[in-house]
C-alpha cells in the first residue's frame, strides 16, 4: 500500500460499525464532507478512504481497499483535512500506477509539487471551444460515417467476448490529426494517452501494454490499473485520477490527450455496491438515482477550452450486460456522450472486423468536423446516403427472408448486393489497415455506384456526376 502524502489531522481510535466497505466513525469533531482519511488496522497496515456523510459526532467513511481485516476496536482512523488529491506531472507519461495513483511499476513517486483534486471542477460552458477538428483513426466506420473529433467523448458499446480492446488499441495506434482529403501527408501530431482500467482482467491490461509497446507509444502512455482482483471500491477513484492527469496534460501543458476508460460497466457496479451498502433508495436495476450525474462528472471532463491549445478526447469502453443497450450503464452513457460506436455480434460471427454495427452507431459532432475545408465537400451527404442505403438493405433482407431473394424486385436485389459489399469492403478492414479519408470516401462511392442513380436522393446531382462510377444504364 502506498504512502500517504498528506500528514497531520485528527485521529480516532475504534469505529462504531463496519458494513462492507463502509465504516461509521464516532467521536470525531469538525469532519469535512468528502475528506480523505487514512485507516490503520490492528497490524499497522495503512489504507485510504473518503468521507461520504457527516453528522454531529459521526462520519460515514468509505474504505477504498475494502474493510477486510478491520476490527471495531483495533482500527485507527485519521482524518487528513483535505479532499483526495493526486500528484500530476509530465513525467507520469510512460509510467504505470494503481487505481489511486500510486506507482506500481517499481519506479519512484512522481517528482512534482503539483497536486490536483481528483474530483476536478466543471468546465464553464462559456470557456469551452466547440470541437471542430477531426481525428483520422484510419477506420472507415469511424472516419467515414461516425467521425471522431478532438474534444469529443465517444464510447464503444460492446459485449463480452467481442474485439473492443483490439479496436480501441487500433484507434490509439493510428490516430492522427485529420486533414482535408487530398492534402499531402504530414508527420501526424501524436496524442498523449491516458489509459484507465477498472476491474478488467490482467490479460486485458497486458494486451494494451503490449500493444502500446509494439507501436512505440509506451513512452507517451500513462496507465492507471485497477484490475479485476483489486478492491472494487477503488474503482470509483480510478477514472477520476486518470482524468485529473489528462486535464493537467491538456490544459496546463497544451497536449492533445486521448483517454481510454475500460470497462465502465465495472465502474457502475462498484458505485452500485457502495450505494447498496449505504441503504440508498435505488432507481433502475439497483443503481443509485445519481448514476447519471456521477457518470456525467466523468464524461464531461472532455473537451477543449479557450485558454489552452490542448484537448481531451474520451473513448470509454462498456460491455453491455447481455448485449442490452437499454441497460442503465449504456443507456445513461449514451445520454451523456456525444454518440456511440456499437459493436454487434452478428457481424462478429460473420468474421467481420471491426464488427461495428453502423445503424445504431452515431457521432453527434460529426456534422461540425467534416465537409468542405475539413474532409471533403460531399462527405456529409455521402455519409447520409450510405446510411440510408444500408438501412434500406435491412428492410430488404427482412423481406427476402420471407419471400426469398428471387422474388425481390431488381432494385431490391441491388440493395441486397450493396449491403453485402458494404459489410465486406467498407466495414471490414484489417487490424493493421490504416485507411486515409480519401480511401474511405472512395470505397463508399464504389459501393453507392452499385445502386441506380435514381436511388441516390441524399447526394446532389453534381456529386453524382463527379463521383458516381457505375453504369447507370445497366443498373
Amino acid at each position: 500500500m502506498s504512502q500517504i502524502t498528506v500528514q497531520g489531522g485528527q485521529e480516532v481510535v475504534g469505529v462504531a460499525r463496519i458494513e462492507g466497505p463502509i465504516l461509521v466513525v464516532e467521536g470525531a469533531a469538525n469532519v469535512s464532507y468528502d475528506e480523505v482519511v487514512e485507516i490503520q488496522d490492528a497490524r499497522g497496515q495503512l489504507r485510504r478512504g473518503r468521507v461520504l456523510e457527516v453528522g454531529q459526532g459521526f462520519a460515514v467513511v468509505q474504505v477504498f481497499a475494502g474493510s477486510t481485516g478491520l476490527s471495531i476496536d483495533g482500527t485507527r482512523v485519521r482524518f487528513l483535512g483535505g479532499t483526495l488529491r493526486i500528484p500530476v506531472a509530465e513525467e507520469m507519461l510512460g509510467r504505470i500506477f494503481d487505481g489511486l495513483g500510486s506507482p506500481i511499476d517499481g519506479g519512484p513517486e512522481p517528482l512534482t509539487d503539483v497536486y490536483r483534486d481528483v474530483n476536478g471542477q466543471p468546465i464553464n460552458p462559456t470557456a469551452r471551444i466547440y470541437p471542430r477538428d477531426y481525428i483520422q483513426t484510419g477506420i472507415s466506420t469511424i472516419d467515414g460515417v461516425n467521425t471522431l473529433l478532438r474534444g469529443q467523448k465517444l464510447p464503444l458499446f460492446s459485449g463480452a467476448g467481442m474485439p473492443h480492446d483490439q479496436l480501441a488499441a487500433q484507434i490509439v495506434r493510428q490516430s492522427t490529426l485529420g486533414k482535408v482529403a487530398g492534402a499531402p501527408p504530414t508527420e501526424g501530431e501524436e496524442f498523449a494517452i491516458v489509459f484507465a482500467a477498472m476491474g478488467v482482467k490482467n490479460d486485458v491490461a497486458e494486451y494494451f501494454r503490449k500493444s502500446f509497446t509494439e507501436s512505440g507509444a509506451l513512452t507517451r502512455v500513462t496507465m492507471f490499473l485497477n484490475l479485476a482482483d483489486d478492491p472494487p471500491v477503488e474503482r470509483v477513484v480510478t477514472p477520476r485520477a486518470a482524468l485529473t492527469l489528462a486535464e493537467y496534460l491538456a490544459y496546463d501543458l497544451d497536449k492533445h490527450v486521448l483517454v481510454v476508460l475500460t470497462d465502465m460497466t465495472n465502474y457502475g457496479e462498484a458505485l452500485r455496491q457502495i450505494s447498496n451498502v449505504r441503504g440508498e433508495v435505488p432507481s433502475r436495476k439497483g443503481y443509485p438515482g445519481y448514476l447519471y450525474s456521477d457518470l456525467a462528472s466523468l464524461y464531461e471532463r472532455t473537451g477543449r477550452i479557450r485558454t489552452s491549445k490542448g484537448s481531451i478526447t474520451q473513448i470509454p469502453i462498456l460491455t453491455m450486460p447481455n448485449d442490452d443497450m437499454t441497460h442503465p450503464m449504456p443507456d445513461l452513457t449514451g445520454y451523456i456522450t456525444e454518440g456511440q460506436i456499437v459493436l454487434g455480434r452478428e457481424l462478429y460471427y460473420a468474421g467481420i472486423y471491426p464488427p461495428v454495427t453502423v445503424l445504431p452507431s452515431l457521432s453527434r459532432l460529426m456534422k461540425d468536423g467534416i465537409g468542405k475545408n475539413r474532409t471533403r465537400d460531399d462527405h456529409p451527404r455521402w455519409g447520409a446516403q450510405l446510411y440510408a442505403a444500408y438501412a434500406r438493405t435491412q428492410d430488404v433482407r427482412a423481406l427476402a427472408s420471407v419471400i426469398g431473394e428471387e422474388e425481390l424486385s431488381d432494385v431490391d436485389q441491388k440493395y441486397l448486393k450493396f449491403g453485402r459489399a458494404f459489410e465486406r469492403e467498407f466495414v471490414n478492414q484489417a487490424f493493421t489497415e490504416n485507411r486515409t479519408i480519401e480511401r474511405t470516401l472512395e470505397i463508399g462511392w464504389n459501393l453507392l455506384s452499385m445502386l441506380p442513380k435514381k436511388e441516390l436522393t441524399r447526394v446532389t446531382l453534381d456529386e453524382i456526376a463527379q463521383y458516381y462510377k457505375g453504369d447507370d444504364a445497366a443498373n
Binding site: 474530483n119 471542477q121 464553464n124 450525474s293 437499454t326
Partner: protein
C-alpha cells in the same frame, strides 16, 4: 443583511441539515458554511432545517454557520437579460469565467444583471398617473431593435409622484417614484421575483395561433399553439437536442429562453458560438439578440439543475408580461426530474415509481401550467410556449416522467430510434405523435394561406397510416402482391416521407421552411397522388409512375426551392401535369 440562523449538523452531497432559529422560512434562500454557498430551505422540523445547496459541498464541516436572507430564491429581472448566459441560479457564466478561469469554482457571487451598463430609457407615464402592477412605466432599448418595457412589480400599485426624464440609466438608478398608501417607493428598472411563484396575469385566452417553427413535421403535421405546451420524448441519439435547437433558431417567437438542464457542455457552447452568427429570418438581426440561455450542464451541481427550470420560466413570464411571445425550451426535463429524485433520496423520502418522489407529477404540472396565452395585467397580450424534452431510460415511454408529462401537454412529438438509425430526420414518428391543437389553429392557416390546411393534412396522415398498414403486408408477401392502387399509396407516402417529413437541419435552404412552402409541398404531394391514382386505375403499371423524373424532382424540392421562389412550385406542378398527362393519354384509350 444576513444573520446566522443555524449551525450545520449533517452533510450528504447537496443536502445539508442545520439546527437553529425557528424563524427561517420554507424555501428561504440561505447561505451555507464559511464560503457562504447558496442554498434553499426545503424542509423544517422543530429547530432543524434541511437545505439543498446549489454548489459542491466537498470540504464543508459540521458546526459551520448557516445565514438567513429572509428572501425566497429569486431572479433579477430587467434590461440586460437578453443575450445573457446563466447557470441554474442565474449567475452569469461569462463573469464567473472572467473571475475564476475556465473552471467553475465555488462561492462565486455576481450580480445577475449588470449594475454599470446604461440603457436608453424613455418614460411612458407622468406625475399623477395611477398605475397598477404590471403597468408599463417606460421603455429601454435592450438591443438595437428590442424594446424592453419596464413594468411595475405586479405586487405594487399607486400614484406616480416623480418621473425621471428620458436618458441613460443603469438598472439601479431611480426612474420613478410611487406613492403607495402613506409610503413613497422608488422604482428602478430592475425587479426581483421568486422563481417558484408564477407571475400573475389577468386571464388566459384560448391558444389558436400556431407557433411557426419552420419544421414541416411540426407546423404541418403536429402544430403547437402559441401559449401551448409540447413534449419531445426520445431515446439518446434520436435528435431531441437538434430539434430543440431548430425550434430555438426558427420559431416565430420574439424571445427565446433556452434551458440546458443537465445536458452536455459542448451543446451549450455550440449554441453560444452559433447563435450570434445566425440571422433571425424575420428581424434580420442575430438570433442571439432574442435569446436568454440557462446552462446548468450535467456536471454542474444537481440542486441548481432543479432550480434552472424555474429560473428560466420566470424570465419567460417576465417578457410575456411585456406583451411578447416567448418560447421556452427545456432540455431535458428528465434530468430535472432526476435532480428531484436525487434530493428526495438524500432526504430519505418514501419513493413512488422508480425511486422518483410522489410529488413528481405535481411538480411537472406546475411547470407546464406556467405556459399560456394570456391577457396581461397591463392589457397587452403575450404568451409563453413550452417545449420540454424528455429522455426516457432505454427509450421506454412507459416510464414515469414521460407518462406524467403526457398528462400535462397537448402536443406530443415522439422521437423514434429506428427512424434515426435510417437517418430520417427529424426522427419524429408520425404514427405515435399527436397534437390537440389541430382544430384550434385551422382557422389561422385558412386566413394566412387561403387553403384548407386541415383537410389536406388529415388526408396526408390518412395516406401515411394506410402505408403503415400496407407495409405490414409487404413485409410478409412482398410489394408485388399488392394491387396498383395500394402501391400508389406507397409511392405517394414515400414522397411525403422523403420530400416533406424529412428535413435537413444543416442544409441552408432546407433548415427553415416557410408556411407558404410547407402548404405548397403538401398540396403538390396530394395532387400527385390524385393524378397517379387516376392513371393506375386505368391499368397503367405502377413502375411507370415510380420512374417518372418528377418523383425525384419533388423529393429534391425541399432543398432546391428556397422560401423566396414560390413560382417554382408552379413549374413543379406543370411537370406533374406534363409527365402524368402523357401516361394518362396513353392509358385513356
Amino acid at each position: 443583511m444576513s444573520d446566522q440562523v443555524g449551525t450545520i449538523t449533517w452533510i450528504s452531497g447537496p443536502v445539508v441539515r442545520a439546527r437553529g432559529s425557528k424563524f427561517v422560512g420554507m424555501l428561504e434562500l440561505v447561505e451555507v458554511g464559511d464560503e457562504r454557498l447558496v442554498g434553499e430551505v426545503i424542509g423544517l422540523k422543530g429547530d432543524q432545517m434541511t437545505v439543498q445547496v446549489y454548489e459542491e459541498t466537498s470540504g464543508m464541516q459540521t458546526g459551520a454557520p448557516v445565514y438567513g436572507t429572509g428572501l425566497p430564491l429569486s431572479v433579477e429581472l430587467g434590461p440586460g437579460l437578453i443575450q445573457s448566459i446563466y447557470d441554474g441560479v442565474q449567475r452569469p457564466l461569462p463573469l464567473i469565467e472572467e473571475a475564476m478561469g475556465s473552471f467553475i469554482n465555488r462561492g462565486a457571487r455576481f450580480d445577475s444583471i449588470s449594475r454599470e451598463k446604461k440603457w436608453k430609457y424613455i418614460p411612458k407615464v407622468k406625475i399623477g398617473d395611477a398605475v397598477q402592477g404590471g403597468s408599463v412605466l417606460g421603455v429601454a432599448m435592450e438591443t438595437d431593435t428590442f424594446e424592453h418595457r419596464v413594468m411595475l412589480n405586479p405586487d405594487d400599485s399607486g400614484v406616480i409622484t416623480w418621473v425621471a426624464s428620458a436618458g441613460d440609466y443603469t438598472v439601479t438608478d431611480p426612474i420613478a417614484k410611487l406613492r403607495m398608501g402613506k409610503e413613497e417607493k422608488t422604482i428602478t428598472m430592475m425587479q426581483r421575483w421568486p422563481v417558484r411563484r408564477p407571475r400573475p396575469f389577468k386571464n388566459r385566452r384560448g391558444a389558436n395561433i400556431p407557433l411557426i417553427t419552420g419544421q414541416r413535421i411540426l407546423d404541418t403535421f403536429f402544430p403547437v399553439a402559441k401559449g401551448g405546451a409540447a413534449g419531445i420524448p426520445g431515446p439518446f441519439g434520436s435528435g431531441k437536442t437538434v430539434t430543440q435547437h431548430s425550434i430555438a433558431k426558427w420559431a416565430d417567437a420574439e424571445v427565446i429562453v433556452y434551458i440546458g438542464c443537465g445536458e452536455r457542455g459542448n451543446e451549450m457552447t455550440e449554441v453560444l458560438q452559433e447563435f450570434p452568427h445566425l440571422v433571425d429570418p424575420r428581424s434580420g438581426r442575430p438570433l442571439m439578440e432574442r435569446t436568454v440561455l440557462i446552462a446548468n450542464t450535467s456536471n454542474m451541481p444537481v440542486a441548481a439543475r432543479e432550480a434552472s427550470i424555474y429560473t428560466g420560466i420566470t424570465i419567460a413570464e417576465y417578457y410575456r408580461d411585456m406583451g411578447y411571445h416567448v418560447a421556452l425550451m427545456a432540455d431535458s426535463t428528465s434530468r430535472w426530474a432526476e435532480a428531484l429524485r436525487e434530493v428526495s433520496g438524500r432526504l430519505e423520502e418514501m419513493p413512488a415509481e422508480e425511486g422518483y418522489p410522489a410529488y413528481l407529477a405535481g411538480r411537472l404540472a406546475e411547470f407546464y401550467e406556467r405556459a399560456g396565452y394570456v391577457d396581461n395585467l397591463n392589457g397587452t397580450q403575450g404568451s409563453v410556449s413550452v417545449v420540454g424534452a424528455v429522455s426516457p431510460p432505454g427509450g421506454d415511454f412507459s416510464e414515469p416522467v414521460t407518462q406524467h408529462t403526457k398528462r400535462f401537454i397537448r402536443c406530443f412529438w415522439a422521437l423514434d430510434k429506428s427512424l434515426a438509425s435510417a437517418r430520417h430526420f427529424p426522427a419524429i414518428n408520425w404514427l405515435d405523435s399527436y397534437s390537440e391543437y389541430l382544430e384550434d389553429v385551422g382557422a389561422w392557416w385558412l386566413e394566412k394561406t387561403g387553403k384548407d390546411w386541415l383537410t389536406m393534412r388529415n388526408r396526408a396522415m390518412e395516406l401515411l397510416s394506410e402505408e403503415a398498414r400496407l407495409s405490414q403486408i409487404v413485409k410478409l408477401v412482398g410489394p408485388d402482391a399488392l394491387p396498383y392502387t395500394e402501391r400508389m399509396v406507397l409511392e405517394t407516402s414515400r414522397l411525403i416521407r422523403e420530400g416533406l417529413l424529412q428535413q435537413n437541419a444543416t442544409d441552408s435552404v432546407d433548415a427553415y421552411s416557410s408556411v407558404e412552402k410547407q402548404i405548397r409541398l403538401l398540396e403538390l404531394a396530394l395532387y400527385f397522388h390524385e393524378r397517379g391514382m387516376a392513371i393506375v386505375k386505368r391499368g397503367a403499371p405502377i413502375h411507370l409512375i415510380h420512374d417518372l423524373p418528377v418523383v425525384d424532382m419533388f423529393i429534391r424540392a425541399k432543398s432546391s426551392i428556397t422560401n423566396e421562389e414560390m413560382h417554382k412550385f408552379d413549374e413543379l406542378k406543370k411537370q406533374i401535369d406534363q409527365q402524368m398527362g402523357q401516361l394518362d393519354a396513353e392509358y385513356r384509350s
